[in-house]
Subunit: 786 residues, 2 copies
């Protein structure tokens, strides 16, 4: 790995940078320890110390170093920078820096750049009612939480996309680097177009330790590490040391070299045509807990895992610890850094970039502020004509694909489609009429739809797709993630963290709501008959509805026009996680455009064309999801044929949250309206797309809940036919019809033979399917005819 030999800093510059770094370090230690006496105007006493010491020192000095040096190059180059902070628990560093540069006070005016403000800054850290110990949504300039690790680099690439002037410096922790999502995301550089997109500068910070262990990358030797990073497509520059003056010079030189190289790459790509080159990156090897206590109670602390959290833990009761803390704090010479009123001195303040360029005020990092709404084509123009409900088939995702295609045309630089190699298989390929898949790696003549200019991002890593999309949304752009339903569980934990971030956006006043995270789950549980058991899991909905109601929406459009209407709506929203589950296979069109738009606006409603209850049903047949809707309507037609006296009401649910209590979810239906739809005393046979108990969990407070009988996926079925899938899970038309008969005793004796007939149909089907491998024609070719 090359080390740059230049020493670009003059003595003055070096001193200035070191002072700035010391100021940040001082403010960091202050946050971890101090409840009062922020300027050390008097000797430290136990009552100045927080009662519970909760914070992490280990990673902090390294982050402070990077931020300080980035300030230098920002001022020098007068260029837009963001910093993505990957290492866990790096909160004190970025909080300190944003306060120093003034962006913290802008976001939180009661925490000014004075003694009282400093005291508040210190107290609130890891304190009840205050802020967490990692870089979180509370921290200006941040788009990445240092809690659950591994997403920094994919966030950085998402942020850089379509922002050609931006440089995203991304500090990757060597602990974080062991995670799968981070390991996969190094290859993001094959999807970054140096002409169209901004730059990402990864800074791998090897401080050597995690919580209680060394890190892998710090212990494989420089040769293997260099080889690895080159294999990832980078040219690494090594900065290593523990002498501050030396490291300052080395880091400044490395940053200059990297940024010069980035300029060169971009200039070349923009002047000619974009190709892939080895992007520069930095490996920064400095001690964990650098400049903190070297030893405490005889144990080595600095440069070991013991500096991970709070190096001196007994300061309130142990006089030695207290004195050691005081001299540690004073080692930064705060009296040179802050004036008597607690304000950073001018020579320090001068080193921060101006209000336009300081990283804590980056508009990119407060994406809601800069997001432009999408220009959407007139959605009605894409609707499929429906002469009669169920008379013809449509391909929902294909229909939406055309709408999405034209949306790409209207929004050439702030919309992307993400997916793990499934856009084609999910039938959204109309988008390839107007754009390609981004691809900077080698190409062959036989390749199709690959180019550096593509706006579709496909890599076989749901983690990377999700991380890119989050980075893109958090910086104020729009996107759709199209995935197999079962495998979106791969990003369950990322969704958790994003939901928490969205909740925090709503809580901190200065952040503005960002474009919603839109999932289109098109290869769903009922149409994985060819892929089998491993591809069948509808539980993502269950996972998502546990999140705060204010940020979660779930839609199950039953056909093409309802999918169109739903997606048109989702693309207009902000600060939600929209989960849309819809089929990619041909299936009946039920509603014409006008009915579809109305039905989606209501979210739930009676389907009059299928009902014969005249306001007084014997049974309510409810359905949510495309396949359950079709099976329900098929059951209704069977029942109406065989038991014409039975009064059936069909209720279709598009917006799943309508089922919940109005006090639990903003979309929740008032009880009166719920009762009017479902009755309070009639049996309700509910055919649901996913795990049936979710419907019970959503409706347990409803009046008619005890009459609710839900069918859904019960982990049965594997490779088989589409209809056999529903049979194996008791969601098929015959079983639903039998459920009705079982619950409407007034039907009398005729129903017994009808029930037996339905049961026999199930048996006939099973015999046929296992022998011939396809569904019986009366099922395959079934059409709603009433």
């Amino acid at each position: 790995m090359p080390q740059v030999e230049a020493r670009p800093l003059s003595d003055d510059e070096l001193q200035g940078i070191d002072a700035y770094w010391r100021a940040a370090n001082y403010l960091s230690v202050g946050q971890i320890y101090l409840l009062a006496n922020p300027l050390l105007k008097e000797p430290l006493r136990p009552e100045h110390i927080k009662p519970r010491l909760l914070g992490h020192w280990g990673t902090t000095p390294g982050l402070n170093l990077v931020y300080t040096h980035l300030n230098r190059v920002i001022r020098q180059r007068n260029r837009d920078f963001m910093m993505v902070t990957g290492p866990g628990h790096g909160g004190p560093a970025i909080v300190a820096h944003t306060w120093l540069e003034g962006s913290w006070t802008e976001a939180y005016p009661n925490t000014g750049q004075d003694e009282q403000g400093m005291a508040r800054l210190f107290k609130q850290f890891s304190f009840p009612g205050g802020i967490p110990s990692h870089v979180a949504a509370d921290v200006p300039g941040s788009i990445n939480e240092g809690g659950e690790l591994g997403y920094s680099l994919s966030h950085a690439y998402g942020a850089a996309a379509d922002s050609p002037e931006l440089v995203v410096a991304c500090v990757v922790g060597d602990g974080e680097a062991e995670t799968g999502p981070l390991a996969a995301s190094w290859h993001s550089n094959k999807f970054l177009n140096p002409a169209r997109d901004g730059a990402v500068l990864p800074i791998l910070h090897l401080n050597g330790y995690k919580i209680a262990n060394p890190t892998v990358l710090a212990r494989i030797g420089d040769e293997e590490l260099t080889s690895l990073l080159r294999g990832y497509g980078h040219e690494p520059y090594l900065v290593e040391g523990s002498d501050p003056a030396e490291v300052h010079q080395a880091l400044a030189a490395a940053l200059d070299a990297c940024l010069d190289r980035i300029d060169e790459i971009q200039h070349e790509a923009r002047a000619t045509s974009p190709t892939r080159v080895a992007w520069p990156m930095i490996v920064l090897r400095t001690p964990k807990g650098w400049t903190g206590p070297a030893t405490v109670d005889g144990d080595p602390i600095e440069d070991t895992w013991r500096s991970h959290q709070v190096p001196l833990s007994g300061v309130r009761t142990n006089e030695d610890h207290l004195r050691q803390l005081e001299s540690w704090l004073r080692s930064y010479r705060p009296e040179e850094l802050f004036d008597d009123a607690g304000r950073p001195v001018a020579s320090v303040l001068d080193l921060a970039p101006g209000p336009q360029l300081r990283m804590g005020s980056s508009p990119h990092a407060n994406g809601g502020l800069v997001a432009r709404d999408l220009m959407l084509p007139r959605v009605a123009d894409y609707a499929v004509p429906v002469k009669a409900p169920g008379a013809e088939d449509g391909d929902p995702t294909k229909v939406f694909g055309a709408f999405l295609r034209d949306t790409f045309v209207l929004n050439p630089s702030n919309l992307r489609l993400f997916g793990p190699d499934e856009t084609e298989s999910n039938r959204l390929n109309a988008v390839y009429e107007v754009t390609d898949k981004t691809w900077l790696a080698n190409r062959r003549d036989t390749d199709e739809n690959l180019s550096p200019e593509g706006r579709v991002l496909e890599i076989l890593s749901e983690h990377t797709c999700q991380g890119w999309l989050e980075g893109y949304l958090l910086t104020g752009r729009h996107g759709v993630f199209s995935s197999y339903e079962a495998f979106v569980h791969i990003v369950d934990s990322m969704v958790n963290q994003h939901a928490k971030w969205l909740k925090t956006i709503n809580r901190v006043g200065w952040r503005r709501p960002i474009p919603s995270l839109n999932y289109l789950l098109t290869s769903h549980v009922w149409r994985q008959d060819h892929n089998g058991f491993s591809h069948q899991d509808p539980g993502f909905i269950d996972h998502v509805v546990n999140k705060k109601a204010e940020v979660v929406r779930v839609y199950l459009p039953p056909d093409a026009n309802t999918l169109l209407s739903t997606m048109d709506h989702c693309l207009r929203t902000r600060n939600y996680i929209n989960v849309v589950v819809a089929g990619k296979q041909p299936q009946p069109n039920w509603l014409d455009w006008e009915s579809a738009a109305l039905h989606c606006a209501r979210g739930i409603g009676v389907w009059d064309f299928a009902s014969n209850d005249n306001g007084d049903p014997d049974v309510v047949m409810a359905c949510a999801g495309d396949v359950p809707t079709m099976e329900t309507l098929a059951a209704v037609s069977l029942l109406r044929e065989h038991l014409p006296e039975l009064r059936i009401r069909v209720v279709n649910v598009v917006d799943l949250m309508r089922l919940q209590d109005a006090t639990e979810h903003p979309h929740g239906l008032p009880d009166r309206e719920f009762d009017a739809l479902f009755t309070t005393d009639k049996p309700v046979i509910f055919a649901y797309h996913g795990y049936p108990w979710l419907i019970h969990r959503l409706t347990y407070r409803r009046n008619g809940h005890d009459n609710l009988h839900v069918r859904g996926y019960i982990e049965e079925g594997t490779t088989t036919t589409p209809f056999d899938m529903v049979v194996l899970n008791n969601l098929d038309r015959y079983h639903l019809a039998m459920d009705v008969i079982d619950r409407v005793p007034s039907l009398g004796t005729r129903a017994v033979s009808t029930r037996q007939y339905f049961a026999d149909q199930r048996t006939r089907h099973r015999v046929h399917v296992t022998e011939y491998g396809e569904d019986l024609p009366e099922v395959r070719d079934w059409r709603w005819t009433f």
Copy 2:
């Protein structure tokens, strides 16, 4: 990348190997297409073709090649091999091979090595009632499902651990290689001890394409790829080509070189002391869909993504396609490979290893067959003495740590502990008295508890930990995964797949139940007050209970002795996913050993010491989880002090599945017993560890369900104090007591002022905590005294 120049195969050997490969390819294509006429005794007609063509050819010839060549080295070296098949949809290949070698017929006797058996083999593939298109639990010799991708390499390392004589050949697909879990797992070689463990031989199969895209690793050039693999700690050997004879020679030579090198590494490590070296691996670059149709309808198929699934899709209706299929099948010259009765000819059969060594019969891959039960120390010896309920504190995980330590001593080679750098922080460090953390990378003098011989595996990748553990369990050994509760969501989707695998073990007769997957979630939602919002998520339980009831168990032991009893039980079980949530912080010991063991055996029960209902309660206070139990008992003591006339029954739940209906879960309590505990008409205030609605979902069928009022985590709270966490989520003692007052109207007017008193205590607390940052002494020092 070196290519080995030797040509180790004689002409006879070469022909034999090619014939074996052709036989496997023929059997693979047959599975995808044929319903009848398996030996092509007559010209192909449409009715010989399956009505729905569901299968994947693309990856198959490469997998067939590797399996064939592994057979050669197995016979030559007379050594134990397993093959882990990473690429998706590789089912036809491994099914074909196991049938050829005889292991398929051993598992499925009605699919014999004859014409009828071959016809059955073909029909069942991707057919209703048959087997899926990927290598799954149905396939003998497999421990890895090719459905959700990315876990092959970590499974391989888990399988190799503690099996010194075993070589695990792991084919990694180049699509799969893009996933996070796979990318992270390359570093597993730093955790493999060449003296104690077996070897893993990764074979990266670059066939170049995924579903509709090229793969990243196939398009970065040989130099970068070589650099990457060296950076992962491997010495790669390149085998490349499309001429079968050339590739046979090259692959044979590369395998010889790799296995010689593995012998050398192991010999050296076993003779001296284990150190880390660059393990050999193979990069196999052959065309996707090799030997299949070169073009179809004018489009290139072989060596493009178009060969991913079914290259000829119109065979039933398109005469050209049918003829093309027939000549494709005949190109393998089946008449030379199978006799008239459909049995593979002797010259083919001779190339398969004998029954002891053929990979489809590997006892490692049917772990339940070879698993020895753990030797467990007498658990009562580790119990903490409890003079009176709640009188003293205990550290549950620390108490269990001692038991686990001694379990390690009794089981020196079939037990491992897995975790993402949290064993120490989760207070299980007693284990370090008898073992270390496995570490083969560089070490420093200041390191602690690291050695090649360690039995604790820590890497900051939940995916890798989970993959290793699954591989270890699937090959018949035992393990515990200790993780932060919030971050175990990272492996949600892996848990899904493992649960599906366990269900399939129960279904296919020849697999034996494997040791259970045991989760100890110790840093749970209520004790993340220092780590904040991002670390707070109890939803893993919700995720797991959606899986098949026969494989899922959830336990919430409320103190040290109940945790001991629970873990002692879990370590004895097979084929379950056991989720145990327990605290690592000091907390009251409630039950002495005898009571704890009895309570855990029942799974749910009245706590008489805390109840004063004399069989006729005014209210039932139920609790599940350590913190909810403490808050409930604190609420009870408040209520008994302030409202002594109130008759309270306390019910504690350890085994969460007891709440469910007996028809829904094998642990479900019969209704009579449930009613006896909870009553059918009295209010039940239920304090639950996780999201409250899960309790409603589990109990919605119960008689008293409408009286149930559940408190739990509602996504509130961040960095604060432990007690403030419960306050913010309305789970605190005061709120629970207020809930009781609100629901027992018979309490009369005195209760009004008591209620106000409790409400005031909550306010006092909040004021104090936000000012001083710690809980009020009466909460901090609270003790059960009744």
